[in-house]
C-alpha cells in the first residue's frame, strides 16, 4: 500500500464513474456513477493528506488533516446532491413516466 497505489485506485474509480455518468441512459444509474466519482476524489484527498501533506506544510500542521476535512464536506455535499437528485428523478418520472435522460431533451435549441 502506497500513495501511488491509492491514487491509481482512486483514478480508476473516478474514470469508471465518469464513463457511467456519460454513457448511461438511466438517471439513477448516472447518479450512482457520480457517487463513484465522489468516492474516487475522496480517496485521493485522504491519500494526499496521509502521505504528502505532512511534508508539504510549513508553519501550521492543521493541513495534515485538511484532506479529511475536505472529504467530510464532499460527503455532505454528495448527500445533499443525492437528496436533490432523487427529487428530480421523481419529478421527472412523474412528468415523463420515465427516468431516461435521453428523453429529457426539452431544453434543446
Amino acid at each position: 500500500m502506497s500513495l501511488e497505489s491509492m491514487l491509481v485506485i482512486a483514478a480508476v474509480l473516478f474514470c469508471i464513474g465518469l464513463y457511467g455518468a456519460l454513457a448511461r441512459k438511466n438517471f439513477i444509474a448516472v447518479l450512482m456513477s457520480i457517487e463513484l466519482m465522489f468516492n474516487g476524489v475522496n480517496l485521493t484527498l485522504v491519500a494526499m493528506g496521509r502521505w504528502v501533506a505532512p511534508y508539504a506544510v510549513q508553519e501550521t500542521l492543521s493541513a495534515v488533516l485538511t484532506g479529511q476535512v475536505f472529504a467530510v464536506f464532499i460527503i455532505t455535499v454528495a448527500a445533499a446532491e443525492i437528496a436533490l437528485g432523487l427529487g428530480i428523478v421523481f419529478a421527472m418520472f412523474r412528468t415523463n413516466e420515465s427516468v431516461d435522460l435521453t428523453d429529457a431533451a426539452a431544453m434543446r435549441h
Binding site: L18, L22, V30, L101, T102, A104, A105, A106, R108
Partner: protein, 679 residues
C-alpha cells in the same frame, strides 16, 4: 496685374456655381431652374473678364509666377502640388474656354428651355467649365490628370444627359471607355515620371511639376537636366500622346466623337468641338518642349494627325446627320492641329486651335438652331431653310467658309500658316515627313470644302423635305426607332435671340479672330496689335520660341484655289445644274460610299470583333468562369462552412444532458494531455 486669388477665382467661380446649383437650386425644383442658368452665366462671365484681363497683362510683359501649394509629398522629387501655370498657352486657352463657354451657356438658355432637367444641365456645364479651366491652369501633372479625368467625367455626364435614351447612354459609355483607353497612356507616363523621381530630386527638380518636366527632357547641352532621353523619352511622349489622342479623337481612338453628338447640341458645341476635344492638343502643346526633344514622337504625332485629318474628312463626306458631319470635321481639324504640333509648328497649331474654337462652336450652334426649327438632324429631311432662317443661314455659311479657310476669315489665317509651316518645314522632323504631311493636309482642305458645302446645300438650299415629321413617318414605315433629336415639332422660322445672339458674336469672331489676333502680312492693326502677335506670344512661352514664317501669297493662293475647287465640286453635285432632290449622288460611289458611310467598319471592328468576339467570348468568358467557379465558389464555401459550423454547433446544443459534461470532460482531457505533452 492680377493677384493669385483672382486667378483662382476663374476656376473657383464655376465650381461654386456647380455646388450652388447642385445643393441649392436643383432641390428647389423646376420653378427655380432658370436661376441655374443665370448663375452659370454670371460665373463664366466674370471668369471671361478675368481671363481677358490676365491675357492682356501677360501680353504687356507681366510674368505670373505663383508659388504652387504643396498638397502631398510622395517622395523626394515627387510632390503633388496645386499650382497655376500661367504661360501664354494657358492664358489664350482660358480666354477661349471661358469665352466659348459663356456663349454656349447663353445659347443654352433658349435651346434647353423647358427641358425638365434644366438645372442638372447647368450643374454639369458648370462642372465641365470648372474642370476645363482647372486643366488649363494646372501646373502639376497629377493636378492636370485629375482635371483631365473630371473633364472626361463631365463629358460622359453631358453626352448621356438624356440618359433615358439608350443611344445616348451607349454613346456616353463609349466615349468614356475609349477616352479611358488613351488615358491609360497618360497615367503610365505619370507613373514613369514618378519612378524617376529620385533622379529629379538629385537635380532639385520635382518630377510632377510641369516646367521641371520640360527641363528634364532638355539635353544637358541645351542647359536642361537631361534626365529623360532616348527611348524612355519616346515612350513618355507616346504615353502622353495616347491620352491626347483619346481626348482629341485621333485615329484610331476617334470613334467615340461622332457618337458623342447624342448629347444636347450646345454640349456638342462646347465640349466636343471647341474645348474639351482641344484638351488633347493642349496636352501635347503643354508638353511640347518634351515632345520636341524626340524626333520619333514628333513624327508619330505629325503622321497620325495628318492621317486623321484626311481620314475623318472622308467619313464626313458620307454622313447624313448634320452633327456627325460637324463631328468628323472636328476630328479632321484636330488632326490639323496635331499634325502642326508634330512638324514643330507649335504656335500655328495653337493659333488654329484658337480660331477653330470660334467657327466650330458657331457651326454647332447653327446646327442646333436648324434642329430647333426643322426638328431633325438628318440633312436628308432638311433643305430650303435659307429663307426661313436667314441669320442661321448666313452665320453657318460664314462658319463653313471659315472652316474651309477662305480669305480673309479666321480659319484661313491659321490653316494657311499650318500649310506654310508644313511646306517649309521647321527642322523638327525630316523634310520628307513634313512634305507628306503637307500633301495630306492639302487634300484635307479639298475634302473639307466639299463636305462643308454639301452640308450647307443639303440644309439650306433646294426644297424643304419634311423635317422631323417626315422622318418620324419614314422611320415608322421602316419599323425603325427614331434617332435622337427628332420631333414632330416642326416650325420653320428663326430661332430666338438667346440663340442667335451668341451665334452673331461667334460669327463675328469667326470672321475677324484670325487677322485681329494674328495680323499677318501687315505691320500692325490700328497700331495696336503688332504683326504675328498671337503666334509670337505663344512662342514667348517656349525656351527656343519658333517664329512664324512670313506670309506667303503663293501659299494663300494655292490653299484658296483648292478650297474653292472643293466648294465648286459641292455646288456641281448638289445645286447646279440640278438641285438636290432626294438621292444623294454620292451613293453612286458604290463600295467606296458604303465604306465611308460605314465609317471604314472601324466601329464594327471595335464593337463586333474586339468587344464582341475577343472581349465577350474570351476575356468575359474567362472572367465569368472565374467569377462563377472561383469567386462564387469561395463565397459559397464560406457559406457552406458557416452553415455546417452552425449544424455542428447545433449538434452540441441537442438538449441531451450528458453531451454537455462529455464535451466539458473532453476539453479537460485535452488540456491535461496537452499539459503532459508540452509542459
Amino acid at each position: 496685374m492680377l493677384t493669385e486669388p483672382l486667378v483662382w477665382a476663374i476656376f473657383l467661380l464655376p465650381v461654386a456655381s456647380f455646388l450652388l446649383i447642385g445643393v441649392v437650386v436643383r432641390p428647389l425644383g423646376p420653378s427655380m431652374a432658370k436661376a441655374a442658368g443665370y448663375l452659370t452665366i454670371l460665373a463664366l462671365g466674370i471668369g471671361f473678364v478675368l481671363s481677358l484681363w490676365l491675357l492682356r497683362s501677360s501680353a504687356h510683359g507681366v510674368v505670373y509666377d505663383f508659388v504652387p501649394h504643396l498638397w502631398l509629398n510622395l517622395a523626394p522629387g515627387a510632390s503633388i502640388q496645386m499650382g497655376l501655370l500661367l504661360d501664354p498657352l494657358t492664358n489664350v486657352m482660358l480666354v477661349v474656354v471661358t469665352g466659348v463657354s459663356l456663349m454656349v451657356q447663353i445659347y443654352s438658355m433658349a435651346y434647353m428651355d423647358g427641358d425638365e432637367s434644366f438645372a442638372r444641365y447647368y450643374a454639369y456645364m458648370s462642372l465641365f467649365s470648372a474642370s476645363m479651366i482647372g486643366l488649363v491652369l494646372a501646373s502639376n501633372i497629377v493636378q492636370m490628370y485629375a482635371f483631365w479625368e473630371l473633364v472626361g467625367l463631365s463629358s460622359y455626364l453631358l453626352i448621356g444627359f438624356w440618359h433615358e435614351r439608350p443611344s445616348a447612354a451607349a454613346a456616353a459609355k463609349k466615349a468614356f471607355i475609349i477616352t479611358r483607353i488613351g488615358d491609360v497612356g497618360f497615367l503610365l507616363a505619370i507613373i514613369f515620371l514618378f519612378f524617376r523621381a529620385d533622379e529629379f530630386a538629385a537635380q532639385g527638380l520635382n518630377a510632377l511639376h510641369i516646367p521641371d518636366i520640360w527641363q528634364a527632357a532638355a539635353p544637358l547641352a541645351a542647359g536642361g537636366a537631361g534626365i529623360v532621353a532616348g527611348g524612355a523619352l519616346l515612350w513618355l511622349c507616346l504615353g502622353l500622346f495616347a491620352g491626347a489622342a483619346g481626348k482629341s479623337g485621333q485615329f484610331p481612338l476617334h470613334t467615340w466623337l461622332p457618337d458623342a453628338m447624342e448629347g444636347p447640341t450646345p454640349v456638342s458645341a462646347l465640349i466636343h468641338a471647341a474645348t474639351m476635344v482641344a484638351a488633347g492638343v493642349f496636352l501635347v502643346g503643354r508638353f511640347f518642349p518634351v515632345f520636341s526633344e524626340s524626333e520619333g514622337a514628333m513624327m508619330v504625332v505629325a503622321l497620325i494627325g495628318a492621317f486623321t485629318a484626311v481620314f475623318a474628312a472622308t467619313m464626313g463626306l458620307a454622313a447624313n446627320d448634320i452633327k456627325r458631319v460637324m463631328a468628323y470635321s472636328t476630328v479632321s481639324q484636330l488632326g490639323y492641329m496635331m499634325a502642326a504640333l508634330g512638324i514643330g509648328a507649335y504656335n500655328a497649331a495653337l493659333f488654329h486651335l484658337f480660331t477653330h474654337a470660334f467657327f466650330k462652336a458657331l457651326l454647332f450652334l447653327g446646327a442646333g438652331s436648324v434642329n430647333h426649327s426643322a426638328g431633325t438632324f438628318n440633312m436628308m429631311y432638311m433643305g430650303g431653310l435659307r429663307k426661313a432662317m436667314p441669320f442661321t443661314y448666313w452665320l453657318t455659311v460664314i462658319g463653313a467658309l471659315s472652316l474651309v479657310g477662305i480669305f480673309p476669315l479666321a480659319g484661313f489665317w491659321s490653316k494657311d500658316e499650318i500649310l506654310l509651316e508644313a511646306w517649309l518645314g521647321t527642322g523638327a522632323v525630316p523634310t520628307t515627313v513634313s512634305l507628306l504631311v503637307f500633301l495630306m493636309l492639302l487634300a484635307g482642305v479639298l475634302l473639307t470644302a466639299f463636305y462643308s458645302f454639301r452640308m450647307v446645300h443639303l440644309t439650306f438650299h433646294g426644297e424643304f423635305r419634311g423635317g422631323g415629321e417626315q422622318e418620324l413617318h419614314d422611320c415608322e414605315e421602316a419599323g425603325q426607332p427614331a434617332p435622337t433629336g427628332v420631333s414632330h415639332h416642326v416650325h420653320l422660322g428663326e430661332s430666338p435671340w438667346f440663340m442667335v445672339g451668341p451665334m452673331v458674336f461667334l460669327g463675328v469672331s469667326a470672321v475677324v479672330a484670325g487677322w485681329i489676333a494674328n495680323p499677318i502680312g501687315v505691320k500692325s492693326i490700328f497700331g495696336l496689335i503688332p504683326s504675328h502677335w498671337l503666334t509670337e506670344y505663344f512662342a514667348s512661352g517656349l525656351y527656343d520660341g519658333h517664329h512664324a514664317p512670313p506670309f506667303s501669297i503663293a501659299m494663300a493662293v494655292i490653299s484658296n484655289v483648292v478650297a474653292l475647287a472643293g466648294i465648286g465640286l459641292a455646288v456641281l453635285t448638289y445645286m447646279w445644274p440640278r438641285p438636290f432632290t432626294n438621292n444623294d449622288p454620292l451613293t453612286k460611289g458604290g463600295v467606296v460610299h458604303t465604306l465611308l458611310a460605314q465609317r471604314y467598319y472601324l466601329d464594327h471592328l471595335y464593337e463586333g470583333l474586339i468587344v464582341g468576339r475577343v472581349f465577350y467570348r474570351i476575356v468575359a468568358a474567362i472572367t465569368d468562369w472565374v467569377d462563377r467557379n472561383i469567386v462564387d465558389g469561395i463565397v459559397g464555401l464560406v457559406g457552406w462552412i458557416s452553415r455546417n459550423i452552425g449544424g455542428l454547433i447545433a449538434l452540441a446544443q441537442n438538449g441531451q444532458v450528458q453531451t454537455y459534461p462529455l464535451v466539458a470532460a473532453a476539453g479537460g482531457v485535452v488540456i491535461i494531455v496537452l499539459y503532459l505533452i508540452l509542459g
